[in-house]
Symmetry: C4
């Protein structure tokens, strides 16, 4: 494939996208391994299942967080014209940071009731959750500085994305800071930021004179 295309030695984003999709697919599915159904010796099955509530919440939260990152990277992948070595390495950093977000989720739910450990549990979770947003922002800054996006996209559109990603990373760190004072407030703030990504991303805008690609 790389040989027959006229521009074959410059890598299109498709292979990075495939790798990225594979890592996210594994990261979103792997928390299932942590779900251990009750053994026969656990006694009453209904209450044994009920006791696993923090595990279900962990799985659900991981699916929401990683699923939204996947959906957004699915969108943003089409904005790039090409990728380079440093962009690939920044992507590895982003992917490793996303993959680890399920790790501190169970303690978060186990200490949600507000015991002596809840602040620690919330701080660790929020710090870990802020990392992928930060990598994402850094990667985007690099991509725009190196002119990796489609050159036909309007500067205003790219700038709005830069502001959006910067604000997202900033908001996660603000939520982290907030949790020193009140872990509940910090978690609510981070939740609002995360769920804002359920809203479909803004349609790409092209420079005047450039052919519109859709509709």
């Amino acid at each position: 494939m790389s040989i027959s295309c006229p521009d074959g030695t410059e890598r299109k984003p498709d292979r990075l996208e495939a790798f990225s999709d594979a890592v996210l697919a594994i990261a979103i599915t792997l928390p299932v391994v942590e779900l251990h159904a009750p053994k026969p010796e656990a006694g009453d099955l209904a209450s044994a299942y009920a006791e696993l509530a923090p595990e279900y919440a962990t799985y659900g939260l991981s699916v929401v967080l990683i699923g939204l990152y996947w959906a957004h990277s699915h969108f943003s992948g089409k904005l790039l014209q090409k990728t380079d070595h440093v962009y690939n390495l920044l992507s590895v950093g982003f992917l490793a940071a996303v993959s680890i977000t399920p790790f501190p989720a169970r303690p978060l739910f186990e200490h949600l009731s507000g015991d002596a450990q809840s602040t620690t549990a919330a701080l660790v979770y929020l710090g870990v959750a802020a990392a992928p947003a930060t990598w994402w922002f850094l990667r985007w800054l690099y991509a725009t500085a190196r002119k990796l996006p489609d050159p036909r996209l309007s500067d205003a559109y790219l700038r709005r994305l830069t502001v959006k990603y910067g604000l997202t990373a900033g908001a996660y760190w603000t939520a982290f800071m907030l949790a020193f004072w009140s872990s509940t407030s910090g978690l609510i703030a981070a939740g609002v930021v995360t769920l804002s990504y359920v809203v479909p991303p803004a349609k790409p805008e092209f420079k005047a004179g450039e052919q519109r690609q859709d509709d």
Copy 2:
């Protein structure tokens, strides 16, 4: 790739299909991790292997259920012309629901003999198994409402699929209800619904005047 095509900024279903295939591939393979061969200190190897029967049944059931979902999503993927953000998020929900179906399978087999826990084990399994069918139906309703399928497919064909998917989800929930009264009946009902997907899906039908794509 997305840049050189005239319609590059509208995403074809291929990337969602790749992600979906990857998640299903992991979900179908991951139950192998739960299979732990007997250690030397387990004594007689033959009986130690025999005692693992519920584990084998769990693996087999997961392969059948997830394998049939994969085969059917392989078919349905070709019916779509495009995907959008909400469709992607509904797909994440569907995939997360499928991935978790192996979790309650082992207790199901361990309590199949009809002890005090069998109704609980069957209810939990049937509830978890009804979830992906429900997501699938919701996703399809959304897809048809948003005109995501190939516009050349006949309305009657699309409507028959809507009915089929709705009936499937309904049948799983009926099996769940049935299990309150008799867990065996509920499980048999769900099994019949699942295995009905072994039958190849109906060939796509096109609107009059549209070029037939196959044969």
Copy 3:
């Protein structure tokens, strides 16, 4: 993609290949999870590492077996013109059978010294190892009966492959039978069959008058 091709509603083998590659990639990597490095409390690290020898052998054997299946399915994928629903389901059976082959490998190596359990360990391993070869053969029989291979391939070439796959499945079951009498002989026989796949497969041969595709 499926829309723009003239034959888009008939599925080319590429999506099945992608799913198959993903399952094999997971199956070949998953045994790493079973490798647990010694903990500090295990005492002398060198001897703790040495005691894990059966685990290394398990990993190595799984890599060889699954790697050869991948390499051969990489080759055979290009012989098909299309796939259908039943072929997909047979592929799921094949993939599930391959994925489970690492499961009985550790007991095999732990009882290799010829203790009371070695025959059991060898029989279980050989039976599990014969399954994917059998699925492969059944899938191939179905494919040729349904004319799924490239119609330009010569009948003699297809027939030679049918014989090869049938002999392979038969040889694995013979090795299994042999192990009732002598587990060492059975294992050597199965090893020879497996390693025969290191030899590159025969080049596709085309019908007279058909354009040669390579060289």
Copy 4:
């Protein structure tokens, strides 16, 4: 797809790349399974998290090592025109060797303080880390001997890569040897070699008269 292209029966590198990417994606994500967040009964959560430091270091090291291999195989994939059976098998060997590198990483960090086991821990790690570099070099030697790279690449460029890959493998084994004398020196040497791959690879150079593919 393979049928419709004129050269469809000769396999382009894309399917090997897809398999390779999938294995590396799993290998880079799987160490997350080894990260077990503290349970409620572990007492003080902050110190329980702090005690897991060797686990975090293991995860980080695996991400760096496997991530750099992925980024480099992303680059080198585009240099090949085709792959063959033996190249595929050598790739399986390489991938299996990479996938296992996280295994000896935790003991490395647990014994970093220089106790009686540190030399053993460093030697095992460095030996395991030298393996994929060796497989990579052997695979490259095979590829150039069999003329698998793009024929338009200049001989000088290919020769420089051969020297680079040979030196890398040699440097890892030197680091291994060095660790018999001083484990710290060996680890630093291996670290320097690994991190040298953060530098982007040299741009492909073409034979005189061949059309430049990029810029």
